[in-house]
């Protein structure tokens, strides 16, 4: 898709987005990549750091209330990034907002999610929301890969419209092990620590 290639080329020109496979290797297993979130280019940076053959079935998760509004934004995330849109505000009361994610995982796709739910202004991630826990519980066979996006909070901080070219690296950590019977909060804290661990 020409739009995907254009997005990737632009992000590489601006921030490099060099992959660093520290705790795992690129592999064709089904995975959920979860990362810290500090800028609008996080998604494309992480996505372009993956080898092309993995990229084609790794789908970023994007907020429907931001990316789903407006024709251009919608076209970019759906056609350019093959994203899964998630309803953060629970607009439809009966529906589980995670349903579209379940659907993608059932089809065998990998996902990219930002469990903080919103962008932070600091280098280290804030508290994680529960979505990652529910996905991990329901799909125990899917590998959970912590990813730390370095420097992107400097390139395009919240409130700015234009990214400044600053070299960023995408650091992939070791798969997060599952611990039987672990409660939600302990799991989420451990997941957040794994992202921080990938930063070092």
């Amino acid at each position: 898709m020409w739009l995907s290639n254009l997005l990737i080329a632009t992000v590489r020109l601006l921030v490099g987005a060099t992959p660093r496979w520290i705790g795992c290797e690129p592999a064709d297993t089904q995975r959920i990549y979860f990362a810290n979130h500090s800028s609008h280019i996080d998604t494309i940076a992480l996505w372009s750091a993956l080898p092309p053959e993995l990229r084609s079935h790794t789908r970023p998760v994007a907020a429907a209330d931001y990316w789903g509004t407006g024709k251009l934004k919608r076209y970019v995330v759906l056609q350019g990034l093959n994203a899964v849109l998630i309803d953060r505000n629970r607009a439809a009361p009966g529906a589980n907002p995670l349903d579209p994610l379940f659907e993608a995982l059932e089809r065998g796709d990998s996902l990219i999610i930002f469990p903080e739910g919103t962008r932070q202004c600091q280098p280290l991630p804030g508290p994680f929301k529960a979505g990652l826990f529910h996905l991990a519980e329901r799909y125990p066979a899917v590998e959970l890969i912590p990813v730390y996006l370095e420097n992107l909070h400097r390139s395009m901080p919240k409130g700015t419209a234009l990214p400044v070219p600053i070299l960023c690296s995408v650091r992939f950590g070791a798969p997060l092990p599952r611990i039987a019977g672990e409660d939600k909060q302990t799991f989420l804290n451990r997941a957040r620590d794994a992202v921080i661990g990938a930063a070092q």
Binding site: P157, G159, L162, L167
Partner: protein, 314 residues
């Protein structure tokens, strides 16, 4: 000999030189033996491979003409500034100033060369940019480390945009009897600077004992500098036929280029170290970042430009 023939001879010579270098690298690798590794020789071979790529890009831009050469140098400035700013601590309040540096200063500085407007080219960054950028940062109302932040950004812009742009600016100089050949002068500058770096590296590896500035740059030695500088000066003198200089003038110019290149490498090593890094980046395999390859050019280019302009433009 017309300029095109001179260019062909140059490229032919450089390709032969690289072929010899690749052959030597291959022999050294074989002498180490299969399965064993030698960091120095692997790095040497990585450097030689990167040289092939750099020579290919540089020659392609040259053949495509003056505008392509300008675009190539604009991209070099862009990537060099990106490395500089990556290592420099910046704050949210610098965002606007940095956007202006990357997206306005880089293109405008090279556009001024393209339209032959020397007077503005020479003062655009030192006068206009250096006054307006701190003002932009000040408007963001963040006083923390303000002087340090603006000083570092200004140094980055000065080296990566202003100084480097003086290399292609050689095309602005009107030298009687040398019309249409200024691109060769740029080639001469780059050739002498880079050969000097390579020869200092080779002499340093073979004979280096006495370190010049062990804290700042552990690989620079007196033996490496003297051997590299003298031989690069000789090569520069032997290249007089692509310049407007006599052989003696060419030796003098080459010596100044070599000296400035050495000082540039040393000063930017100090900057790099004060920013806490060993390499500027990892863009060029074996060499490090763009700035690791351009540090000598950034000091040599402005001085060579002004000396040539002062003495050879009537």
């Amino acid at each position: 000999m017309n300029p095109q023939d001179k260019f062909n001879w140059l490229i032919g010579g450089i390709v032969c030189l690289l072929a010899v270098a690749s052959l030597i690298g291959w022999i050294l690798r074989r002498r180490v033996g299969e399965g064993q590794s030698s960091a120095v020789i692997d790095n040497l071979n990585a450097r030689i491979r990167a040289w092939w790529v750099m020579v290919a890009i540089f020659s392609a831009a040259f053949l495509a003409g003056a505008n392509a050469t300008l675009v190539m140098f604009a991209l070099i400035s862009f990537f060099a500034l990106r490395e500089f700013i990556t290592l420099t601590p910046t704050r949210l309040g610098d965002h606007r100033a940095l956007s202006v540096a990357f997206f306005i200063l880089v293109p405008v500085q090279y556009w001024l060369i393209g339209i032959d407007w020397y007077a503005l080219f020479a003062i655009f960054i030192p006068v206009y940019a250096f006054l307006l950028l701190p003002a932009l940062s000040a408007l963001s109302e963040d006083a923390e480390n303000f002087l340090e932040r603006t000083a570092k950004i200004q140094w980055g812009i000065m080296i990566t945009i202003y100084c480097i742009s003086h290399a292609p600016a050689l095309m602005l100089i009107d030298i009687p009897g040398y019309e249409g050949q200024n691109a060769l002068l740029l080639f001469y500058l780059v050739l002498v600077v880079q050969l000097s770096d390579v020869l200092q590296y080779v002499f340093g590896k073979l004979f280096g004992k006495t370190k010049i500035a062990p804290v700042i740059s552990p690989s620079k030695t007196v033996e490496g500098f003297v051997g590299g500088a003298l031989s690069a000066t000789l090569v520069g003198a032997a290249m007089w036929w692509i310049t407007p200089f006599t052989p003696l003038q060419s030796a003098g110019m080459a010596f100044i280029i070599v000296l400035m290149g050495f000082l540039g490498g040393l000063s930017l090593s100090a900057v790099k170290r004060s920013l806490g890094a060993k390499d500027w980046g990892s863009m060029i395999e074996g060499h490090g970042g763009m700035m690791d390859r351009m540090d000598s050019i950034s000091f040599a280019a402005p001085i060579f430009f002004h000396l040539t302009r002062y003495f050879f433009e009537p």
